[in-house]
Subunit: 343 residues, 2 copies
Amino acid sequence: MGNSRVTVREIARLAGVSVATVSRVSNGTGQVSEEMRRRVLEAIEKYGYRPDHLGRALAARRHGALGLVFPGLSGPYFTELIQGFESEAVPARASVHILCTHLREDSDDQALEMARRVDGIAVVGGTITEPALLRLAELVPVVVLAGRGPETVPSVGVDNAPAMTMLTRHLLVDHGLRDLVFVGNPDGSPDVSQRWAGFQAAYRELDLAPPTEPLRLAMQQHDGVLATERLLGGGTPAPQAVVCANDELALGVLVGALGRGLRVPEDLVITGFDDAPMAALVSPPLTTVRQPVRELAAEAARLILNAVDAPGAAFDSVVLPTEFVVRRSCGCPAEPPTGGTGK
Amino acid sequence: MGNSRVTVREIARLAGVSVATVSRVSNGTGQVSEEMRRRVLEAIEKYGYRPDHLGRALAARRHGALGLVFPGLSGPYFTELIQGFESEAVPARASVHILCTHLREDSDDQALEMARRVDGIAVVGGTITEPALLRLAELVPVVVLAGRGPETVPSVGVDNAPAMTMLTRHLLVDHGLRDLVFVGNPDGSPDVSQRWAGFQAAYRELDLAPPTEPLRLAMQQHDGVLATERLLGGGTPAPQAVVCANDELALGVLVGALGRGLRVPEDLVITGFDDAPMAALVSPPLTTVRQPVRELAAEAARLILNAVDAPGAAFDSVVLPTEFVVRRSCGCPAEPPTGGTGK
DNA sequence: CGGTTAACAGAAACCGGTTTCAGGCACCAT
DNA sequence: ATGGTGCCTGAAACCGGTTTCTGTTAACCG
């Protein structure tokens, strides 16, 4: 297996030059005469020489790889994240290592282990402990993706709380609703934690007492279906509106609610967060908050790549803006461009 | 950055032994006296020595990494794939590199590039060209994931065609339907191609003329919504059943159909493939085919790891079984455990 | 024409490990 | 005493590159 067994020294011998010259030619560094360059390139071409990654990495003290650590892989959010990260890493000739911790006990150790194989790491907020994050940052450039880490570790995120406050305010003020329930686990991720805080803040702005407890569930579509069983299955009175921590949950709730014969938004208002592709396509279309997930991850990758190239240069945190997207599921009339009013 | 600057030679000096001994102790290879081992371990502990990955990899001619190449990252299918792969790689102390080709022009080159950074690669069927696959297999152990490659390259997949034939036969025979439309692009992936073939085969079994063209769409949920627009938007007469290439499409079609006021399965029958978590939770629950996606990827990882450990040992292709899951969306009565019949 | 300088090439050191190989030593059987 | 046998150990070679440092050569200048 492998014709790629041809090394610098062989090429050097075949071209009748020194290894230094071969290295210079293959890297385009230093001064090489036209004659030498031609001879070397000829040999490289002829024998199909490709410099070995490990040798090069060892000498250069650089792996040419970036790491991405996240808790689990569920739904469009994480796939967008990965793709955004990848889209920035690949052009920089950096390969992407992933680590999916599943919130295992040894997540911290595995992240530390990864640090020894890559040049920089993006960690999704809430995936590893804060001490581990700090130790990680001592080894390689680190950025926290979607969330905030310790002061010294830069992060890339969106303005979750204000966005959620705006959305909640819309329901409370413009639609006059009072009995809202928030679905999502604030302890699960910084994102959700901030959204929960923003949700409560909207109540306080109006001198209302906010709900004290969210409906704690994971973030997948089927958790949303589960939520409808809890909320609409009798027992407690049904809420007026379900404010979901992300679109997937909202879609699940929507499917569950429609499945029970409820009309949305007449009988139940539902909102999401993310503006996933499906949000605009379901009926009624979902009122949500658009966040630039892909761009978020791309920005993280860029920050890391910069930090790798220019060690020492402090790099700042970034907060990307969100956009409140009003559609039909909150009770607003159908948007003009969609045509047709109401149901 | 990094206290991890301590090397074998330093430890050797500090412990008053040779580097060979340090290497032997840290790897547990060869014979080392108790006294030496103690001294070395003490030094390792004291100075926090961790062998450098690159040095080790270079010397051992092994990267300690596995690659996973796929076209794009959409929906639960790919996330399950990644997690299954990862779950097998991590315990083997192999890191996971991913490459998301997006079907770019240079996919082949990028895959070959990856081959020089990992010990083995799993390629999702249809992601790179066949010649590239062959060249790849010359460099490292390769397995095709979900699909079949050239004879010489082993693959891991499921029995797509028979499963889809069984499902289609169920609609044709048990429900007496005739006007079915298949949604999915057979040119997009071997999986879909096989399912499309199985779909047509069911017609032929009954001496019926199968549809000649599928509705060619991508595989995401919103493509399913798109499908309803094409199929139910007037123009052509609506079909009796929509046979989707995967569950995501089916969920999209379901959402789209319900949004148009259709009753499922009374007005329109819908089926999926995969048995994603949501399939059982929507109403009506989705008739589909369960395939062990996670196990598929795990098996691929195992095959590769074995091939890496025992080079030369031929390794065979694997076909995992599927299971036909009958629920309500095909027109069958609600399952007993679910309780409640019909709507 | 002698001396300075710039351009270029190669020998050797280096990155951080693993592994081969030869030798030292203790122990045992002749 | 001698030779053989195992067990340990360390020097040195090796993995495949990059980079420093030294030296040669030719061009240029006064």
